[in-house]
């Protein structure tokens, strides 16, 4: 049965990724734009692999300063203490908030790393033409795309704490350099998931 399946591209049809309208190639005046919504039409997202690689490699590099440098400086009763993401998680464990510790660990460490590694794995499998486990790869990507935004959690927590905990020079929370790196990683990985075209996984798989 698999041999009989036809993709839109093989049928000479282009799907608009904004409104999902199918258009026959060479439909006339508005050749390169969708006749319904006006979006640019491509059989596949243009230079998808190159763009995704560029974004992923940048995120991979920035992951190091994001995790190793302090993300905020906590001053408590005059005592200054720089905190990395991992330090913050340790604090939660020590104070007994295991659930929050786990949540931050997932959102700030596991998800960004898993996301970058996961997409890299899918990209390599496309370029090496490994044509197995296609459905798993699609499912994994769908999951990565869904979960990626939640890494913003730590940034929001810092934005809230910085405004609230500002009790003069004695007790205050001030953001530290890693916050910029971390925010950049989150933005870049979301962009990477957007430039990636899942249809490449299924290309020439018959």
């Amino acid at each position: 049965m698999a041999k009989e399946q036809l993709t839109a591209r093989e049928a000479g049809l282009i799907q608009c990724l904004d409104c999902h309208l199918l258009t026959a190639k060479g439909h006339g005046i508005m050749e390169t734009h969708c006749p319904r919504c006006g979006a640019k039409l491509h059989f596949r997202k243009s230079t998808s692999l190159a763009r995704t690689w560029a974004l992923l490699i940048s995120s991979l590099i920035l992951l190091f300063p994001a995790n190793l440098l302090p993300i905020m400086t906590v001053t408590y009763l005059g005592e200054k203490q720089p905190n990395t993401i991992m330090d913050g998680i340790e604090h939660f464990i020590q104070s007994g908030s295991y659930f929050i510790a786990l949540l931050i660990f997932f959102a700030s460490i596991l998800v960004p790393v898993f996301k970058v590694m996961g997409i890299i794995l899918i990209m390599i499998s496309i370029q090496k033409k490994w044509k197995t486990r296609l459905r798993h790869k699609t499912l994994m990507f769908r999951f990565i795309k869904f979960i990626g935004r939640w890494s913003m959690l730590d940034i929001f927590v810092i934005a809230i704490m910085v405004a609230l905990v500002n009790l003069g020079t004695l007790t205050a929370i001030v953001p530290a350099p890693a916050v910029t790196y971390f925010a950049t990683v989150v933005v870049l990985t979301i962009l990477a998931a957007n430039t990636f075209d899942t249809r490449l996984i299924w290309e020439d798989t018959k």
């Binding site: 919504c37 699609t138 913003m152 929001f156 934005a159």
Partner: protein, 214 residues
């Protein structure tokens, strides 16, 4: 499913849909309200017809627009420590980041927690009015495309989780109380939740297409 026995040259796109994730061609059928159609090859949700999608979304987006300003401006929580009281809302958090010199991070928070969520509600309202009340509003297609592109950059629900984490973190340090802004914020948050239940983008596109044909 479309088979290769049909001659490619005679394929008519009408009545066909393609899977957005794997490009498989499928004969579109109308399964009736509430039924989910999945791609037979990759398992992607192709569409799910929903009841009164546009009317409900119209009302929900209007409610969201009304709640938006109080949710942003009223205090979300108050910290009381050593005789000093500090109240905070989303905008103050962004201001604090900006004053500490983290301009880029402040911009990212401003975009994902304020501007994009507001634009999303506004665009959804605009497009719903344009296709439901049939006012001669210009270019609902562009508005809806913009809405779809912005969709994942609105992160209010993640901000909410951030509030919860902060509360847990701060209760050890000081007394934290909740402001009226938090209730507006939670209500505002419920709107995308409800609208994702009633929201059917394919119906929007079908109607946008029909009004463009006239």
């Amino acid at each position: 499913m479309v088979t290769s026995q049909s001659n490619p040259k005679t394929i008519d796109p009408r009545g066909l849909i393609a899977c957005p994730e794997c490009d498989l061609l499928i004969r579109g059928t109308d399964p009736g309200p509430g039924v989910k159609t999945l791609c037979p090859r990759c398992g992607c949700t192709l569409f799910q017809v929903k009841k009164d999608s546009i009317e409900r979304t119209l009302v929900l987006s209007l409610a969201g627009l009304i709640l938006f300003v109080p949710a942003m401006v009223l205090p979300i929580m108050t910290l009381d420590a050593m005789g000093i009281e500090r109240t905070s809302n989303i905008l103050q958090g962004i201001k604090a980041l900006f004053q500490d010199g983290f301009h880029m991070v402040a911009m990212v928070v401003l975009l994902t927690a304020v501007i994009v969520p507001f634009l999303k509600l506004l665009l959804l309202f605009y497009v719903s009015v344009a296709i439901r009340i049939k006012a001669n509003l210009s270019n609902p297609a562009l508005g809806f495309r913009f809405y779809q592109r912005l969709d994942e950059w609105g992160m209010l629900e993640i901000y909410m989780l951030g509030i919860l984490v902060s509360i847990t973190k701060l209760t050890d340090l000081a007394h934290v109380s909740y402001g009226i802004g938090l209730f507006c914020f939670v209500s505002l948050l419920a709107i995308p939740l409800f609208s994702s239940v009633t929201f059917d983008k394919h119906q929007y596109w079908a109607l946008i297409g029909r009004s463009a044909d006239k």
